[in-house]
Structure formats: structure tokens, C-alpha cells
């Protein structure tokens, strides 16, 4: 799934599922690297999405505030 098509919510869901799997030891050590890589990607993706949203929102809020 490319970054463009990935939704934040789906990314978060996938991330949570990964955490759950990790907590319940359902991931084999062999897969671990791969899964960790995926998690990192998702976290990074969510963060960047959140950041860009935050910036958008901040911009809009700034505009709103300037308008009084």
C-alpha cells in the first residue's frame, strides 16, 4: 500500500494490530524485523500525516484568528 492510498485511521489500526501481535507473542523472531520495519513506517507515516494536518489546521486557525 502506498503512502498516498493509506489512510491515517487504517495505518493506526494496523499499528495497533501489530502491537497486539507483538504483546501476545504472535510474531516470530524471523518476522520481527519485517514487522518492526512496517511499524516504523506506519508510525512515521501517521506522524507525518498528523504533522501536515496540524500545519493545515494551524494555518486555518491562524486565518480564523486573524479574521477575529
Amino acid at each position: 500500500m502506498t503512502k498516498e492510498n493509506l489512510k491515517y485511521d487504517d495505518a493506526m489500526l494496523e499499528l495497533e494490530e501489530l502491537v497486539r501481535e507483538m504483546e501476545y507473542g504472535e510474531i516470530s523472531v524471523d518476522e520481527l524485523s519485517e514487522k518492526i520495519k512496517r511499524s516504523a513506517f506506519l508510525i512515521k507515516y501517521c506522524k507525518s500525516k498528523l504533522k501536515s494536518t496540524e500545519e493545515d489546521v494551524a494555518e486555518i486557525i491562524k486565518e480564523m484568528s486573524e479574521e477575529g
Partner: protein
């Protein structure tokens, strides 16, 4: 008697008349109270004497009739008392109770000489007549008619029944004409007798005249005054009272007297008693009207002022309300918008920060889970490693011990070691003796010890059971 007229005894006229006179004088020794109707007084002003015509009627017919005499001296005395008591003078058409001497004079003939008239009786008669009059009016249902008429609010046009020379009329005029407030009354005199029997007719005539002209008038004023209480009986007369009661205009009486209220006054619209009172009454009506009008004017002015003020204040209130409410509405919307804006900003920030926290949280959780997992694996490896070491070591130790144990056992089993301790064994023909079956006496027995061999010969064999 005509048969023996000539030679009969006769009396001279004088004799006979004196005889009659004596009889009468003898029979009627004192005056008598007599009741009769005096149809005519026949007063001769010059002599002052009266010769009242008396009759007694019954069923419409004359039952008795007689002319009487009332000498001027008596007349003056009686009339004065009569007037005083009854309010009227002796006059024609009166039922009277009189004290009279019955006299017979040869020259003047039979006569009744009235020496007194009972005024009280007359009073009773009058009262009865007055009462009858009232009853009749009531019976005919006209008694209250005039009083039920409505007096115009402004009784301005007055038909006056009076006499030009009457003091009452003068009093009335002087008040009406000289009112200081400038009220305009219109009055017109319809002259009339105001007392005595003759007054009835003239007053009725004038009333009828006025009736024809009633559209010109608001009321009729009957004004009398200064005439004392004499001749008032006319106001108790049915004809006049009926005319008054039935009159289409309100009649106000001012006939000024001190005796009882007359029937005319009773049936009149209003009776202020005196002409002066009447004039003041009318003036009072004008005053009332003037007051009323100026009250109304005040009310109209006050009302207008209040009304306009109220309307203006209502409009101003509405204006202020509209203005305030619009401002309020706009302010309200502004503050709603502001609050929505704040909420939007806050919610967006909250959402972002909560997501940010979520990410951090999930990252940490993830990190922790991985580390836990890795350390678990490490632990597992360590545990296995340790197991292997210890198992290997134990195994080697066990085997070492086992070998050692076996080695020791074997050492013990070596024969040399037994011989050393003093043990020995025997052989026959190189074989160790384990049973006695093949042994014979004389066989050569070799005993082996640690230090060397001993050779012996068997002498006896004893077997155990």
C-alpha cells in the same frame, strides 16, 4: 178657608206675622249649626254686607234653598278667620257649616242670619276635595306623568305662567336676567290669574296655549309670589292638576306659600316652592352644565395628552425593543459563532494532540513489547545454553564416576588382592575345587597363597549333608 173669608175672624198681616215671629222666636231660641252649600256669596262691597244663597241638593235636585244674611261686621270677622285657617276667602260654591239665627221679621220675612262659619269644616271639605283630586289623578294614571318627563339638560327656554305684576315673577326675572355668568335664558310670559277659583280657568287656557307652542319651550314655570296664602285652593283643583299632570313639557312650580303642598305642586315635574328657588334651580342647571362641559373639555385635553404620550412611549418602547433585540440577537449570534470557533479550534487541537499522544503511546507500547520479546528470546537461549552445559557436565561426571566405580570393583576382584589379605585357594590337577565329587583320597592338593604354593595329599573326605 176661602168659603168664610168675610165673616171669619182674621188677623192682620202684622198680627199674623208677629205671631209667626213669636212662634219662631219661641221655637228657635238659640242659633243653630247648619250645613249647606253656599252657591253665591253675594257680597256688596259698598255696604259690606253679604247675602249668601244657600241650597241643599240631593240626587241632583234642589231640596232646600234660602238666601241668608251676613252682616258686614260678621263678614269681616268670619272671612278673616276663614282666610287665616283655610287659606281661602269666603266665596261662591262652598259647602259651609255655619252658625245662624233663624229669624222671622214681619217686614223682611224669614231669614237666616249667619253669625259664624266653621273654618275647620271648610278645611275638612277642602282636604277631602284635595284628596279626591289626588285619588282621581292616580286612578286615571296620570298622577306621575309630568314628573316622568325628562327635563332637558339645559332648561333654557321657559314659558312662564305668572302675572306681570307678581312679586314672584319680578324676583324670578331679576335672578334670571341678572345672572353674572352671562347665561342666556329665554322666557315668555303667559299672563294668568294665580289665585282664586278664576285662576283655574286662565291657567288652563294659558297651558293649552303653551302646549301649541311647546317646540319653543323646554319647560313651563308657574310663578306666583307675594300674594300670601289666600286663594291657593285653585291649585288643588282637579281640572288644573290634570292639565299640569298631563302637560307635555315639564312644569316647575314656584308658587311660594307656607301651607301644605298643593296638588298642582305634587304633580308638577319639580316644585322648588318659591320663584327665587326656581330661578336659582335653573341657574344651577346652567352652572352644572358649564361645569360638565368644562370637565369634559378637561378630560378631552387630558386624555389627548395622555393618549399621545402613551402612544409615543409605546412606539419608543417598541423602537428601543427592536433596536435592543436586534443588537442582542446579533451579539448572541456573534458569541455563538465565537464559541463555535473556539470549540472548533480547541477540538481540532485536542484531536491532533490526542492522536499525537496515541502515536507516542503506541510507539512506546511497541518498543516495550519488542524489547520484552527480545529479552524473552535471549532468556530462552540462555536458559537452554545453561541446561546444555549442566547436562553435559553432569553426564561427564556421572560417566567418570561410573568408570571409577567399575574400576574399583574390578580391582577388588583381582585374586592377588584376596591372597594378600590371607585368603588362599586349592587346586587338584590345576583346577579349583568347587565340589568333592571327583576327588579321591590320595589326590595331590596344591594350596596357593600370596607368598607361594603348598603341596599336600588328601587323607580323608567328609562331605556335608
Amino acid at each position: 178657608m176661602s168659603d168664610n173669608t168675610i165673616n171669619k175672624n182674621y188677623y192682620s198681616l202684622r198680627q199674623i206675622l208677629e205671631s209667626v215671629s213669636n212662634v219662631i222666636k219661641g221655637a228657635y231660641t238659640q242659633p243653630y249649626w247648619i250645613k249647606a252649600e253656599m252657591i253665591k256669596l253675594n257680597h256688596y262691597p259698598k255696604s259690606g254686607h253679604c247675602y249668601p244663597d244657600l241650597v241643599e241638593k240631593g240626587n241632583g235636585k234642589i231640596k232646600a234653598q234660602m238666601r241668608s244674611t251676613l252682616w258686614s261686621g260678621n263678614y269681616e270677622k268670619i272671612n278673616s278667620k276663614f282666610r287665616k285657617i283655610t287659606g281661602r276667602e269666603l266665596n261662591d260654591d262652598m259647602n259651609i257649616l255655619f252658625l245662624a239665627e233663624v229669624k222671622f221679621d214681619a217686614i223682611y220675612g224669614f231669614s237666616l242670619n249667619i253669625i259664624d262659619i266653621d273654618a275647620d269644616y271648610e278645611l275638612g271639605v277642602l282636604a277631602k276635595a284635595k284628596n279626591d283630586c289626588i285619588l282621581k289623578l292616580k286612578k286615571e294614571g296620570i298622577y306621575d306623568n309630568n314628573r316622568q318627563l325628562k327635563l332637558p339638560l339645559l332648561p333654557q327656554r321657559i314659558a312662564v305662567i305668572s302675572d306681570e305684576t307678581s312679586k314672584g315673577y319680578k324676583d324670578f326675572r331679576s335672578i334670571i336676567d341678572n345672572n353674572t355668568r352671562g347665561y342666556k335664558f329665554f322666557y315668555m310670559l303667559f299672563p294668568s290669574l294665580l289665585q282664586g277659583d278664576a285662576a283655574v280657568g286662565t291657567m288652563i287656557n294659558q297651558l293649552r296655549q303653551i302646549k301649541k307652542l311647546k317646540h319653543h319651550f323646554d319647560l313651563v314655570a308657574i310663578i306666583r309670589g307675594g300674594g300670601g296664602d289666600v286663594g291657593m285652593d285653585c291649585y288643588n283643583r282637579y281640572e288644573l292638576a290634570a292639565e299640569v299632570a298631563n302637560f307635555p313639557l315639564p312644569i316647575i312650580s314656584g308658587i311660594g306659600h307656607s301651607t301644605n303642598e298643593t296638588v298642582v305642586e305634587m304633580v308638577a315635574h319639580y316644585n322648588p316652592i318659591t320663584p327665587t328657588d326656581l330661578a336659582y334651580l335653573l341657574q344651577q342647571k346652567f352652572d352644572n352644565n358649564a361645569v360638565n362641559i368644562s370637565d369634559y373639555q378637561g378630560i378631552v385635553e387630558g386624555f389627548t395628552k395622555d393618549y399621545m404620550n402613551e402612544k409615543i412611549s409605546v412606539i419608543n418602547n417598541q423602537t428601543n425593543y427592536v433596536i435592543n433585540k436586534s443588537k442582542e440577537l446579533l451579539n448572541q449570534q456573534n458569541s455563538i459563532l465565537q464559541s463555535l470557533k473556539q470549540t472548533t479550534i480547541f477540538s481540532a487541537r485536542t484531536l491532533i494532540s490526542s492522536q499525537s499522544n496515541s502515536i507516542v503511546h503506541i510507539s512506546n507500547k511497541y518498543k516495550f513489547a519488542i524489547q520484552k520479546r527480545l529479552s524473552l528470546e535471549e532468556h530462552k537461549i540462555d536458559r537452554n545454553t545453561k541446561s546444555i552445559y549442566s547436562i553435559a557436565k553432569n553426564l561427564l561426571i556421572n560417566q567418570n564416576q561410573k568408570i571409577k566405580f567399575v574400576g574399583e570393583k574390578i580391582e577388588l576382584l583381582k585374586p592377588d588382592n584376596l591372597l594378600k589379605k590371607g585368603y588362599s585357594y586349592n587346586t587338584i590337577k590345576g583346577k579349583i575345587i568347587t565340589n568333592l565329587d571327583n576327588i579321591k583320597i590320595g589326590d595331590k592338593l596344591i594350596t596357593k597363597t600370596y607368598s607361594g604354593e603348598i603341596e599336600s595329599e588328601i587323607k580323608k573326605i567328609k562331605k556335608y549333608d
